[in-house]
Symmetry: C2
Subunit: 136 residues, 2 copies
Amino acid sequence: MFKNWEKAPKGERIDLADLLSQLKVTDEGLIPAIAQQQDTGEILMMAWMNRASIEETLATGQVCYWSRSRKTYWRKGESSGHRQKLKQMRVDCDGDTLLLLVDQQGPACHTNRRSCFFYMVDDKGATVESDPGSGL
Amino acid sequence: MFKNWEKAPKGERIDLADLLSQLKVTDEGLIPAIAQQQDTGEILMMAWMNRASIEETLATGQVCYWSRSRKTYWRKGESSGHRQKLKQMRVDCDGDTLLLLVDQQGPACHTNRRSCFFYMVDDKGATVESDPGSGL
């Protein structure tokens, strides 16, 4: 269906159940979700969602992922307080990636850096951009 | 090793071969790469890289992905002219996602929209944000 939908003009609507049923997910029913701070454009993290976590996130406005390591729902900030409020969800052209525009409270990274993408890579190696805890 | 590296202070260096050998890749040796327009912060697309395509991208400054559907290197813009010049590559805390800050020439999406993330999702469905071809 994404092959048909991509031809649609600006403003066309797609039903949520149709959209969710056509997402391209992994064998475990997961789709990657990029979290971007909505005002600064900073990329905070990437994690995974399943259909139920997408629906919960849309319903509550608080981002809920699926934790592949813990095999359970991961309501971002539930224990740390570093919650993500959803401002807008987007899907890409072929329906295999989500983009979450969020308001991130405090650091997004488990190292308490603001963003998870703190290694800057060049053709010789990588440089650590920020100190652990610097996002607090 | 990423578990050790994450404790490193700002400015610490990691050797490229060490970094690449520790990336968490899929069974096919792939890692997802988010492409972000470096000046506007717009998320353009997500695609996949393998070790050789990462090394080529760092060496040439032109982004080279691995196409999962065509099972070959995908030098972005080679046929369309819509090339991506690499400005900075980043890796996340657990080494399973890349972030590419790029200068995108023309549209990034195969629908000739500027970005692949043109479906805006809400709790009822999705709205197409832009017309096909609007990124030209």
